[in-house]
Symmetry: D2
Subunit: 493 residues, 4 copies
């Protein structure tokens, strides 16, 4: 019996995300794919500076100047007295160089939204589809997936070649499609899809516990049994330091808190990130489980709320993320979502070394043998959700400990909720299958299943698909657009 | 080991519909539940008269006068010289009397459509839902199911008591909901859901084979691998006397035949039963399998075609069955769908003893040891469709032979088609579960899953449900309407 | 949307065995792989001569002389006045020539039993395993599978190349392993595994119906719901022309008929094919379903009956097939199982043109558009058995009609019976998986699961495996014997 | 929507073991069912005395004198200066009194082994079945289950009535059968099956890490991915403080450590608890996963090792637990497994307050909001093992935290290992199903599936079953022994 077979046999039946030994905290190598990022990298730099870890960060970006800016920022921060960790930053435009032997790979990339995102939002809107974010599902989200999947297949292949045992954290949306593509390309990858929506939900639960039960709590005191797919996650249990929160939640759902209605004017000045939980409370009243993913995301999956345009959506306290907003935030000067690193470096703005509220460092610490840590992750289903299909990427809690990220068993769903989820899983899996050989007609089958698309006449759905494909054609080059009957003119028959 | 356990063990693992010995053709008893029916009973009378069988038909109807009219007609026909079979007809308004010891039970009942059906059509329409038939799914179809399920639970219980081994044929819509309810109430019932849509599809395939392949064929020459749920059945194989029809079908779908567009005016004089197959051809082009259930039914399940109102629906050659049509056909004088038995009896209209094109007699003949017969039936899934859930009522072919009705194994579906089907299965199963204890809120969860309903704003969906419940309240008496949060005013919280 | 994808999509979800148009009866080509067979070919020659079909039979055998003998016999028979069909026979030792464009392929091959079969029987016996036949499961059966699978993979590859649409009938044991290997190599093959055990069971049921119910019946009047894997099939329903036989069977199982005990002396003169059904009755009493596969086969799967050596086995009326019997029947002069064609040709023995009791001709007739025909077949599971795994080769009834062989849905099993079956399915599937890359250690895992093997000490099991491998080494050349830890001496560690 | 339905809906889809709020550590009530136990109660008394918790312990035992002895001991210990916790002990022979409002229920009972256990061991041995422990599976283990299940159904019913939200810990064997029976009777019970075999396995892994890798580790440093059913658990990953132990384990399995052979004489003086891991190493070499449950238990499931009697079993370093050993340990004076409480109370033996190595207190501490704790537990499968059936009781790790015990997702198995497990699951589930109405014949079907039983001739298996039933008849009173065909004389037919 040879060892290699054992390893692969064991691997194929295990539920863990990752292999390999414990991280050695004092000297490890991080490869950052998308190293020019204005939001994530500056945060990471500060978190690492405030950690006790040390090592090397390689910022990879085809736009190497952005990466160099971030590297300069990283090294500048390291020179501060309050920097605890010992880190060196370098920029590169060579993916292989960045990945070679890396212990940790972070994936966080984005196309120019003015050429992509704005189409995802505006073209469907012209068909009457008032998607709130259009980032992870619905017609725009599916096209974002179609653009991104081929790129991430290439990343997965490069990881297999250059650092197969690395821990890979994917921050890029749509997290379910993208993480699934990584595993579809390289099944033994140690990849985890990351999202902070559930963390924000736990924040809110802590604040409700404080307000209504007079418990002084923060996120770390809140334990929820979270399950679903990214941005469409649900909880069926919630505790605050062991106290069952469900009676409170049930009461809130039926009372004033859970029954607020909004006028469009109420949201005029609101950020699109505003979240009143009115969608979540309503879904709780209907289905008995509580969504925990941010109402603006949930409505793209529970699509009744998108029907009726702005007024109808606003009534639930949800404000659409317009394409202008997306475009604006691409330019740091105009955005408060990204970070104006130059202003810090030049001294124009004062810099205060501050931890983010992300959990990546907690995870790395646990992997390195520190305190075990429970958080939500996106991983292929190996039973952690009993009644969604095996292999699809689901979101549940995981226990992170020395050398391991292991999902907690979350059980299943009441049939109606499982049904809502399954339709989206079918879209995701159909598009993933189609992406294996760039089969556009098959991808269109997945598109047709989406409940936002199902509000269109059949021929309109085809036209919408064709229009999106035309607008984003240069980002879809692994897809066989020319062979696609779906894209041919209707009179082609 | 006792025999009773064996019988029940065997029964619980078998796939057959029915138990009991061969029918004895010369003397068997038929109980007709809904014996006042103006359409089915007169047809049956003639089919039986033209058969070689004999026995007794008990026409049960709470409206005993209608039943008596039909009994008189039946006995009148028997007196004709060209009546071959030897049958006696009697009417009763006592269900137990009708069922007692019956060999065959036929179920075919209907509420006054002016109090039910018209609401199923008109109320959703007032919310912008342009359902084509509203008879078996969609908001109207679900309410029809909610009205009918409790009644059929009572029929199933009566059959268990009075004739547990009888062969039961259900003709009442929605066939999937209703047949499922029979089995949910009495799992050992020998019930089969009947529908002629697939038969009409085979007629059309025969005619296409004649037209394009110059084969002189009729329905009996056509073999299809049919599968799905009633009114949303698909084929993935079709033969005409062993000749593969798929190359022809593929060619037609891409040519003129499969690409006709209609204007509303084209359908002005058309019957709502008109069927151009344009929906079917389009779905074939998208999904690679061909629906075979009548376009007017298919669009209620593949709901893209309902979007855009009359013009958009008509474009595919489908004409909506309006509530006026339904109401009119309740009155025999105005209908050509029902039969004016009185006119025949009085001699006002000439009577010509004619076989229907139903297959019931072929089935009875096969059960009695005649020629084995293959036809489509609706039965609980025991694997005949590999990838729909066990126990839900599916439609496939079955082989009928002496004493047995056994489904043929039909395989499964490509993922996108299975996904379309699964959503409807989830609606059906949720409503069935809800009906066990009259849980209206749970039924509403099933309602919310329906893709027609998903075009509404969430609060509109609730209002539509409440309005339908109010309009049909007196037909919903087994449902706990008073306990239903869903039906309470929105300000009840 | 392109046609090729549709075809493959449809194919992948269908339950049918085969594609292609109806056979044209007057001119089709049969390739016989194993054309030197002394038992099957002479039978086929006569069946074809008595049919109304015509065409060409190509007898392929590496031992071309045997094939030529059979070809000569075939052509000699055709010259007779009572030969109805119009057939020409030719022999070849070139597989490609034989298969090229064939409409029907028959597979029936065997190694010299004196070098294979005798080891399958004698080596396990020397370890105390008193297998009754050793032909299809148990240590000997598994080695037979290991010898045969690689050869049939080559046949499947050749069929894909030379006649991909042909109907393929496999008669070679172990039918489940071998048929599974054909599909594993070429998933679109139209192959059916054939076995007459169930036919003999129906013969016996007809005779019991005659004896006890005074019904004059033969096999064709008997309908059973058969299910399981080849040689371990069970029935849970039996009808004789529509009359339920179960009450009779239950009575027989409890009475004298089902409770006979035998002494070894009773079987001294019996053929190993003798079958008293005492094993079947006992299993019926224990499990409530009746095996229908011949007791001598059933005991290799329901292995309690093999414990205790000859006396214990004989007590149930089963006589072991000794290796001497196998060897003898390799020599036609000494066998009554094979056919002495030479004696016929030379006139030494009188020849009488006689139909066999095989069903192949009935199947071909139905495929060609004749009378539809129901018979048992072995096909990959697509739901015809609800609770055995998808893809494994199961035995159920199928309806054969023009251009189609479609399994009937047979339902599932009570848990204990399913458990007995599943263990064997796991052995079969493990060996098939192992055969993909000749992984002997993995095949040994399948061997270890077998209940006959589980009566051995762990180290004895390994030694038995190694001894069989050594004895049959030259028939195992696709297996990586040299890499196998299992075959290394115990002190190799 | 009413709250009750939500609660039950949520409960039915959750994977957690238990509900209810956090334990309040300073005042909680423990009901001990089997409070006269000589082994577990004295250990618990000391663990509680050394904890910081306080409350009341009610010792329930029909043999109230034993319970009173233990209560006296408990209260005596509380008077010591080194007792930290604040506990009061009382004895009762009234189950309802003991359970009423309890926060924690401990289940640990045993029949007089001289009337039960000795038969479980000796009667099968007289049929040549050399079971090593006969405690949890095999013929003796199955009878132990049959005796115990009805009693535990009554306990579950009493818990539902008197303390439905209590945390219930079951220590009674066979843990899988018994825990399954608790859930079968009361599905909402918060019950966990406990076993220390895996803990001992982690001890040994720590010691191997120390010996071979020079890591100073104890059990708490060892993390394993454990999965299976109780006493037949396997690991596919093992870490020591984040260091992957698999390369070491693989090396040991192939070297001297994993390849020791024993002579019977080597074990003459050994305790039956001796464990050389030779069985585990051999199974690792064959199947690629490592059992972690104690070789003496594993051989009852991987039954090859039991074939060949004492010598063959001893060869693997396993010594049978004889019935004399069992009987002896029932008498405290002669046992070192139980505790001579009287000797302590009388001062005859010196008493030293000592913690056990059980984990119950760690669990209670975590439930009360202390340090989260990962340990192995037995719970109904809700996906924590992907490829064993839903609902059956499986053993995996769980994360215990404030108010929650939640299994970790453990993945699945390679097919051959899953097959070994499934057979035992089928036995367990068949016996549980049979116990619902005391159906002895159905229980016998489960018995027949057991691989130890499958080494017997069919009639011997029946006789063994009947002999065990006769010997233990007075402990089987919920079983319908009189109706059982299996127990009737063979000539009863």
């Amino acid at each position: 019996m040879n060892m290699d077979r054992n390893r692969s046999t064991r691997r194929s039946v295990s539920s863990r995300a990752t292999a390999g030994n414990r991280l050695e905290t004092d000297e490890f190598t991080v490869a950052y794919v998308g190293g020019g990022s204005r939001q994530w990298v500056p945060n990471l730099v500060q978190d690492l500076a405030l950690s006790t870890f040390g090592g090397e960060v390689r910022l990879y970006d085809p736009d190497v100047e952005s990466a160099e800016r971030n590297a300069a920022f990283g090294n500048w921060v390291q020179e501060r007295d309050d920097a605890v960790g010992d880190w060196e930053y370098a920029a590169t435009d060579d993916l292989a160089d960045a990945l070679d032997g890396a212990d940790v790979v972070l994936l966080s990339t984005q196309y120019d939204p003015t050429e992509t995102f704005v189409h995802d939002l505006d073209i469907p809107a012209s068909y009457g589809i008032y998607g709130a974010v259009a980032a992870t599902i619905g017609p725009g989200g599916i096209f974002r997936a179609m653009r991104t999947i081929p790129v991430y297949r290439r990343f997965a292949a490069a990881i297999r070649e250059h650092c197969p045992d690395a821990w890979v954290f994917n921050f890029t949306n749509p997290v379910h499609f993208v993480t699934r593509a990584l595993y579809d390309e390289f099944p033994e990858i140690n990849a985890v899809g990351m999202c902070h929506e559930v963390l924000h939900g736990r924040d809110r639960l802590a604040s409700l516990a404080g307000e209504h039960l007079d418990i002084d709590a923060d996120r770390s005191d809140i334990s929820v049994n979270v399950k679903g797919i990214n941005h469409f996650t649900w909880i069926d249990e919630a505790y605050c330091d062991g106290v069952d929160l469900w009676p409170l939640l049930d009461e809130l759902a039926r009372g004033e808190e859970g029954n607020r209605a909004y006028e469009p004017a109420d949201l005029d000045d609101a950020s699109p990130f505003t979240d009143s939980w009115q969608v979540s409370w309503e879904l709780y009243r209907r289905f008995g489980l509580l969504p925990l993913a941010g109402d603006r995301h949930v409505v793209e999956y529970a699509t009744w709320f998108l029907q009726g345009g702005r007024e109808a959506l606003n009534r639930w306290g949800v404000k659409r993320t317009g394409s202008d907003f997306r475009a604006k935030h691409w330019t740091p000067a105009e955005s408060d979502q990204t970070t104006d690193v130059e202003a810090w470096l030049s001294g124009e703005r004062e810099f205060d070394l501050t931890a983010s509220d992300e959990v990546l460092l907690d995870i790395l610490d646990a992997l390195a043998g520190g305190e075990p840590f429970v958080t939500n992750v996106n991983l292929p289903n190996r039973g952690q959700i009993e009644d969604l299909e095996s292999g699809t990427v689901v979101e549940t809690n995981a226990l992170v400990s020395a050398g391991e990220i292991r999902p907690l068993s979350a059980g299943g769903f009441p049939r109606p909720v499982r049904s809502l989820l399954s339709t989206h899983v079918d879209t995701i899996e159909t598009v993933i299958e189609a992406s294996r050989d760039g089969d556009v007609d098959r991808a269109f089958q997945g598109f047709l299943l989406d409940p936002q698309v199902r509000t269109l006449q059949t021929e309109e759905a085809r036209e919408l698909f064709a229009e999106l494909a035309a607008a984003e054609e240069r980002f879809l080059d692994d897809w066989r657009l020319d062979d696609a009957a779906t894209l041919a003119a209707a009179d082609a028959y």
